[in-house]
Amino acid sequence: MRLTDTIKRAGRSLRNAKARTLLTSLAIGVGAFTITLSLAAGQGGRAYTDEIVTANTSVNELLVTKKQPEANSGPKKYEDTGVSAMAGSMSNPGAADIAYLTQDDIKAMEKLNNVTSVSPNYSPSVRYITREGQDRYVVESVSTFSPSVTLKYAAGSVDGNLANDEIILTEEYAKVLGFSNPSDAIGKTVEIRADKLSAPVSAPENKLFPFKVKAVSSKSGFAFRAQGSLLVSNDAARELYEYINKDTRAYGNFLLASVQVNDEKNATSVKDELSTKGFEAQTAEDVLGAINTFINVLQGILIGFGALAVLTSIFGIINTQYISVLERTQQIGLMKALGMRRRDVGRLFKFEAAWIGFLGGAIGSGMAVIAGLIANPLINSALKLEDVTLLQFNPIAVASVIIGLMIIAIAAGILPARKAAKLDPIEALRTE
């Protein structure tokens, strides 16, 4: 018997028992629904973390800290150093327990192969920002602009690097500084005041640093680091830092430095080298990997539930197919009497099971896709994800779910199919 004829006959038998076929395949459908949704969520989740990471770090960038001394368990004995631990800069408090990167460290890092530049995280603590005829506003943080980190702009944009007299404001600062809309701010001058920390209290020294607004950044669902930060060039940040911190005890000590490598591929080798030299480095991939591991575990759990549903439905298929064989004893007997081979009889029932698997898979993943289309906008507005789709359906993944379920269904149909193939036609035709 030809394969196409067998498949057609199998489909026809199922159509003759529509309700039963549908109910059996719905059981698989539940599994298909869960598995398809978890695959979609996993894919969307990984895409989402990808976006987060590129919005915050660059793939060419390593975040480096000094290897911290092993934390001793239990209380530590007090050692009188004669100096108050908190003396010095607020931005780089010289707390005794934390190991800092020094200028020497930075120089050592710069000498490594494949390293293009090393910039310590200056984050100068300035007093306030203002502009002519406007009030003064406290600045939460000033950070260094990195051209490889994706920013979202409300107005203006930065091509390449930021010039040393340029600044990127956030929408909120643009508003309080009296600009009617973000694009109004472009090209205008704002001033940042910095206080010299080493100056004696009796004779304070301070200075206004003017900056031209190059762009206004808008809030992004991805960025953690740049949120609320005013961004200036690396040199400008250093200038501010030097002015504020020079001659303090913490001057030249940094918690964090970012190391730029010449190629993404070299990030890992540089990381290893840094590690042997007493630094701790994290690549963008490390950050991504940590989050992705978490997503994968969650996805695995969800798929596990789906697999459980599929396992249950296997017994449903076996049961249905056994009943089908019993019901159609006469038909099977006739087919065998007419010379249908055992193998073809078995195949007929296996194909029926495959049809059930296909139907269940198609119904389940179809429902999952529909549910995803409905849920995506709701999730986005609830989590403020903007234009990321959290449930991403990959046609290949959906197709493999359906094919996988068909194979499982065929496996479930083996026992009933064998029973059908073994039927004695004489006995079968005797049943009235």
């Binding site: 018997m1 030809r2 004829d5 006959r9 026809r12 003759n16 006469q330 038909q331 007997g333 006739l334 087919m335 065998k336 009497a337 007419l338 010379g339 249908m340 081979r341 055992r342 073809d344 036609p425 004489i426 035709l429 009235e432």
Partner: protein, 238 residues
């Protein structure tokens, strides 16, 4: 030619053994119409099963066209049935949920007849049993007589050499029964197909060329009423 030689079939074991066929032998020439006549439990159905390769008696030979089908492998017996034999049963065994056309198509599919040739064969078979206009109907919507005619169409569609009919008119009233009988005998005469009817009805048996009487698993008598084969007539004393 069908030669049945010393066929013995036993059911059960030892003390419970029941001899269904006891050393049965006879010969049927090609194109004959044969009635295997006997009461219920006489072994006539078992004989049909043995002759069609559905059953395997422990002793004897069934030689069809010079080949002992009892010595064939399962696959070959299946092929033999698919290509050379047509079956008609008392309770029709048509597939109620399938169309008339799909019912008739089944033996062709089993015999691996290419799709292109099937349609013509199905139409010819249905014309032969006067069911052409029902080709698209579901079998469950047919009357009893129409169902049996459908079964006849299914039996003849692949141009078999031998047709086995097990009580073909047993479930039909006399008028429709007559119609089916006429079709079977007409096909037998016209195409030279060997027709073997298993029945307990002497009236139907009388219409056949050869009558083989079976009693308690033994051939009681063979009567050949066909003038040309008169010389085969003989009394078997058991």
């Amino acid at each position: 030619m069908i030669e049945v030689k010393n066929v013995t079939k036993t059911y059960g074991k030892k003390q419970n053994a029941f001899i269904a066929l006891d050393n049965v032998s006879f010969t049927i020439p090609d194109g004959a119409s044969v009635a295997i006549l006997g009461k219920s439990g006489s072994g006539k159905s078992t004989l049909m099963h043995a002759m069609s390769g559905l059953d395997r008696p422990e002793k004897g030979e069934v030689v069809i066209d010079g080949e002992d089908i009892l010595k064939l492998k399962t696959k070959q017996v299946d092929k033999f049935r698919a290509s050379k034999i047509g079956f008609i049963f008392q309770s029709f065994f048509v597939q109620a949920n399938e169309t008339v056309s799909d019912n008739v198509s089944l033996p062709l599919e089993i015999a691996d007849i290419p799709r292109g040739e099937r349609k013509k064969k199905i139409q010819a078979a249905l014309e032969g049993v006067d069911l052409s206009e029902k080709i698209g109907s579901k079998a469950k919507n047919l009357s009893g007589g129409q169902k049996q005619r459908l079964a006849v169409a299914r039996a003849i569609v692949n141009s078999p050499q031998i047709i086995f009919a097990d009580e073909p008119t047993g479930n039909l009233d006399s008028v429709t029964g007559d119609k089916v009988e006429k079709m079977l005998f007409g096909y037998n005469k016209k195409n030279g197909v060997t027709l073997i009817i298993v029945t307990h009805d002497p009236e139907l048996a009388a219409k056949c060329d050869i009558q083989i009487n079976i009693k308690d698993g033994k051939v009681e008598s063979i009567r050949d009423t066909k003038p040309a084969t008169k010389q085969h007539t003989r009394k078997v004393v058991s």
